[in-house]
């Protein structure tokens, strides 16, 4: 904190970030009677303004000018493939799309709302049990989360009820109850809403997957299949499959977002204050660095402010949380040379490739229809649902048709089948063929953590506030490429059962580096992971900093390695889990929750 920072009146809890994690923590803390200030770097956002129909469903503004996303001209990351390279700033949105503004990524997300495979939570232990320690490749930092599915189940359930999630259960309280995912663990309750209806491509995929011997299920979606009132009393409208989910504020109020599902009750709570356009610079620590005293931020007028607080909750996007920890000196920075230190360690991504199937020209696939979280998946090759022994890789991948609504500019970018010219009448014919008669199948694979894949502060590049940018050192590894190629071959099996006219299977290629120019996924994870060993995790199993006990760090940064699932459901459950332990233990006895 510099000398001219304005010192504000203290509050009980200050929260950095106004997305899902921040809103959940704010709701929980106000329920516990604590005063909360939530600081959000971007502008305030609402359905009425950002989702105003029909201006909101503007593909150019939403998916190409990135209306709801981070302003990379002020703050970004630098990226390199390995530590021999010089990292350069990520200046144009492409590979991943971090959000900005109230609601965060929770406003522009699609809505796929998963729990987690129980084996993924203790993947290191499970792999050693099944295949032996030697099975873990050299350089892979395979770890356990330090928390079990049974412990998290009530919080998954709570999050689904808050989000109004649509889906079909397989097992509830141990009893088989429906046609849900046979690999999914037992649930304490059904989904709050029935599954979304299958769009036609999902229907085709479901049938073909069954014929191929797999176990298809409806993707769990936080796109409401009916009107819904959540436990906080807020209402959602029903999804009409318009396809404007990812990149948009839903004008139907049917995609769950902090703005629609939590903030209406928070905003009217007397203990809650939201300050938008407030960019946090660092967490302030006391003299011996063991306790946070608050945060310093720039307010909407550029005035530096110090907000004192008893508890600091970092709930920004994954890599912003890691960067704030590094900038504030919370936890020991990761040193890849020695594989020591914890902040920046186990940075992970997701390993997604998309294959395309062209059906008979008499079949109209109506790809303009869609819901961001809707579709059909199978988990036969996800997590530890299959025997990795003979395959020789760690990790897995769900496979799905997630037709989220193909829009005109996006469709034009895709073009025709392989070999179609990129211009002229052949291109036009190919584009129309793809748009009308194809369907797309994703291998949505996990990405493991490696010793030489990490986050640190860039030595050269700074943001507009003069603070160092975060540097990503990332590349694909053979283990993950082998996993992808194996699973994509199974997509080939499904395509055969579809009477495909043409199939274009896209596999990750050995030796082909991570390419930031192509959109892949925004599901970044790790960097400040949870665990039971302070030597390999920055946070304990309650997402509390091992080093500064009144700092909690909520987000996908806590994942020790990637999973095949979309992260939001896990992040929400971890937020409720951490909040629960703050409420029942920490508030009465502030101090480390794990020893």
């Amino acid at each position: 904190m510099s000398g001219d920072a304005r010192r504000l009146s203290p509050v009980d809890v200050v929260i950095v970030g106004g997305g899902w994690a921040g809103s959940i923590m704010a709701k929980e803390m106000t329920e516990a009677g604590r005063s909360v200030v939530m600081l959000e770097r971007g502008p305030d956002r609402s359905t009425a303004a950002d989702g105003a129909y029909p201006a909101s469903i503007d593909e150019l503004e939403g998916n190409f000018r990135y209306r709801l996303f981070q302003d990379l001209s002020k703050n970004t990351v630098t990226i390199r493939n390995n530590s021999q390279q010089t990292a350069l700033p990520y200046r144009r949105m492409a590979a991943f799309l971090p959000g900005e503004g109230v609601g965060g990524a929770g406003l522009h997300w699609s809505g796929v709302h998963f729990r987690i495979a129980p084996d993924d939570l203790r993947l290191r232990s499970r792999v050693i049990e099944k295949y032996g320690r030697a099975f873990i490749p050299e350089g892979m930092n395979l770890q356990d989360y330090g928390v079990t599915y049974e412990e998290l189940e009530p919080f998954f359930d709570k999050a689904e009820k808050v989000f109004g999630t649509s889906g079909e259960a397989y097992r509830v309280n141990g009893q088989v109850v429906g046609r849900g995912n046979v690999f999914a663990p037992s649930r304490s309750d059904h989904f709050p809403l029935p599954a979304l209806k299958d769009v036609y491509t999902a229907h085709i995929f479901r049938k073909a997957a069954e014929e191929a011997g797999f176990h298809p299920y409806s993707l769990p979606a936080a796109n409401a299949s009916q009107q819904y009132v959540n436990p906080y009393g807020v209402q959602m409208g029903p999804c009409n499959f318009c396809g404007y989910c990812s990149g948009y504020a839903c004008y139907m109020y049917s995609k769950a977002s902090p703005n629609v599902n939590i903030l209406p009750v928070l905003r009217r709570h007397p203990l809650f204050e939201l300050r938008s356009s407030s960019h946090v610079l660092k967490v302030e620590l006391d003299a011996d660095g063991r306790r946070a005293t608050g945060v310093t931020y720039l307010d909407a007028d550029g005035q530096e402010c110090m907000q004192p607080a008893e508890i600091v909750i970092l709930a920004a996007f994954q890599f912003h949380n890691v960067r704030l920890m590094l900038l504030s000196g919370i936890g020991r920075p990761y040193d890849p040379a020695r594989n020591e230190g914890v902040v920046g360690r186990n940075f992970v991504y997701q390993n997604v490739t998309t294959s395309t199937v062209w059906l008979d020209r008499g079949v109209e696939t109506n790809q303009f229809i869609g819901a961001g979280g809707g579709g059909v998946a199978f988990d036969d090759f996800n997590s530890e649902n299959f025997d990795h022994g003979p395959l020789g890789f760690v990790g897995g991948s769900p496979v799905w048709v997630n037709q989220a609504g193909v829009k005109p500019i996006g469709a034009a970018h895709v073009g025709g089948p392989p070999g179609t010219p990129r211009w002229g009448s052949a291109w036009k014919a190919g584009t129309i063929d793809t748009y009308r008669h194809s369907l797309r199948i994703d291998a949505h694979g996990a990405n493991m953590a490696y010793r030489d894949v990490y986050l640190d502060l860039d030595p050269t590049w700074k943001d507009t506030c003069g603070q160092p940018l975060l540097r990503m050192t990332f590349d694909w590894k053979d283990n993950d490429i082998r996993m992808n190629r194996y699973v994509v071959d199974r997509i080939g099996d499904v395509a055969k059962a579809m009477d495909a006219r043409q199939v274009h299977l896209v596999r990750r290629e050995f030796g082909s580096p991570f390419d930031t120019r192509q959109y892949q996924t925004t599901h970044l994870g790790g960097g400040a992971v949870m665990g039971e060993d302070p030597g390999t995790s920055a946070l304990n199993r309650y997402l509390q900093s091992w080093d500064v006990h009144n700092v909690f760090v909520i987000g996908a940064n806590a994942f020790p390695q990637g999973t095949g699932y979309n992260p939001t459901g896990m992040v929400a459950a971890l937020a409720y889990w951490a909040a629960h332990h703050i409420r029942v233990t920490y508030l009465a006895h502030p101090g480390p929750l794990a020893g």
Binding site: D44, S46, T47, A48, Q227, Q235, G237, Y251, M252, V265
Partner: protein, 438 residues
């Protein structure tokens, strides 16, 4: 000595207890007065959106000019801080200001004349002790001559305002089937002043009926206020509350939303400042009383859902006037079957507002959009976008005509001229909507 000291202590304790008791009683009175202020919906007119409570300034756009609701906080200079209780009661029941001038009958004193002594006593206590004084002068400059003169108001008052003594007598004599209906009648005809909007007015601007005793014109629907047409609250099947049951009405008063419709226009403030704060019993009393009001025109043809329009749209037939516009701009929320997704997006099929002989509300909502506001029980607001920028008068007329004709609504068509008339008033008078944050 010792005994005397104990005596003094005991005396002091008793005094303190008595004072606390008095304070408690006074607090109770203020709290009760606040409740009466909700029942009388004072805030709907006297509190501006975003303004201090009761500091006035809300504009009434009337054919003869613009009126501003005065500051009724206890501020002694710009509010009502100098009113004695008797002066306060005279203003409420008789429309006579402290200085003897007559109030504009936008102040519903012909209804407030029915308010009980107890309620007015509590209301006075609330305005003197429960409301923060705010210095905010409200200047009346908006009326054109001859309506800017006050003396005709005296004449009006003498001709049309009821005598409070007679009214109070009438209330004591009146028979009701049960205590709940009696309470409902009091709330609706007295403090609630529902007739101020929902009863038609004569050419001389007095309500044609002030109570249910005055015949079926009472609450049979009023002239448009700010472009919104207050619907009939009688038992008319198509255009009134004939198909609403008691619980529907209770939900509507509490939350502004129920399976058959959602609140908009002036009712938004009536719910926001008024009815949502009433006890469930009082909400039920209002509902039960309203359900005693017979239809004004007992029509043979009650509304019945007609699937023809739905079937045509589902078959891709958009040849009906306005059908294509409806599918493009309305059906996402209100659906091709017109049933909407209540209580999120209200139905248009069978909605009394849609079938009203006066199409003003429907046209206005299509042009300017509207907000279903959050209430205490329902924290979510929902926004209907306005289409004024995208649709010309003819397109709006076509769309509205489709909605009025489809699904058994069978209401008459609308012309582009009707739309133009309302578009002009919007441009002249209405500030943009303040938008909710969910």
């Amino acid at each position: 000595m010792r005994l005397k000291a104990w005596g003094r202590l005991l005396g002091a304790m008793l005094l303190a207890l008595a004072a606390a008791g008095r304070a408690h009683a006074a607090d109770d009175l203020v709290t009760r007065g606040e409740y009466v202020a909700h029942a009388a919906d004072c805030g709907a007119c006297h509190t501006r959106a975003g303004g201090e409570p009761f500091a006035g300034g809300l504009a009434f756009h009337l054919p003869m000019g613009t009126l501003y609701a005065p500051n009724i906080t206890p501020d002694t200079q710009t509010g009502i801080g100098r009113y004695s209780e008797a002066e306060f009661i005279r203003a409420l029941r008789q429309g006579i200001r402290r200085d003897g001038a007559t109030l504009y009958p936008a102040m519903p004193y012909p209804s407030y004349a029915r308010m009980t002594d107890d309620d007015l006593h509590a209301l006075y206590a609330y305005f003197m002790h429960g409301v923060k004084p705010v210095s905010h002068p409200v200047v009346q400059t908006g009326l054109t001559w001859p309506f800017s003169m006050r003396w005709p108001l005296v004449l009006w008052r003498r001709l049309f305002a009821p005598d409070p003594g007679e009214v109070q007598h009438q209330m004591r004599e009146r028979q009701f089937p049960d205590a709940l209906v009696a309470r409902g009648s009091y709330l609706v005809e007295g403090p609630g002043h529902c007739g101020a909007c929902h009863t038609p007015r004569a050419i001389t601007m007095q309500e044609k009926a002030l109570t249910a005793l005055d015949g079926t014109v009472y609450l049979s629907g009023g002239a448009p206020v700010d472009g919104w047409r207050p619907v009939s609250l009688r038992g008319d099947n198509r255009t009134g509350l004939g198909r609403w049951n008691e619980q529907d009405i209770v939900r509507f008063l509490a939350t502004g939303r129920m399976p058959l419709g959602a609140a908009f226009g002036g009712m938004t403030d009536a719910i926001g400042h008024g009815t949502q704060h009433l006890t469930p019993t009082d909400q039920l009393a209002i509902a039960r009383f309203l359900k005693t009001l017979s239809p004004q025109t007992p029509a043979a043809d009650g509304w019945k859902y007609d699937p023809a329009a739905t079937l045509a749209l589902r078959a891709g037939d958009v040849s009906a006037r306005g059908a294509a516009l409806y599918v493009d701009s309305c059906a996402a929320c209100h659906r091709t079957d017109g049933r909407g997704y209540p209580t999120t997006f209200p139905p248009l099929a069978g909605n009394p507002v849609v079938m009203d002989p006066t199409p003003d509300s429907l046209i206005r909502i299509v042009l300017a959009g509207h907000v279903l506001r959050a209430t205490r029980q329902t924290p979510s607001a929902f926004v209907m976008p306005g289409f004024a920028a995208r649709m010309d008068d003819a397109a709006v007329a076509d769309t509205v005509t489709f909605i009025r004709a489809a699904w058994g609504n069978n209401a008459p068509a609308v012309t582009a001229e009707d739309v133009g008339r309302i578009r002009r008033t919007l441009a002249a008078e209405h500030p943009p909507l303040s938008l909710p944050l969910n």
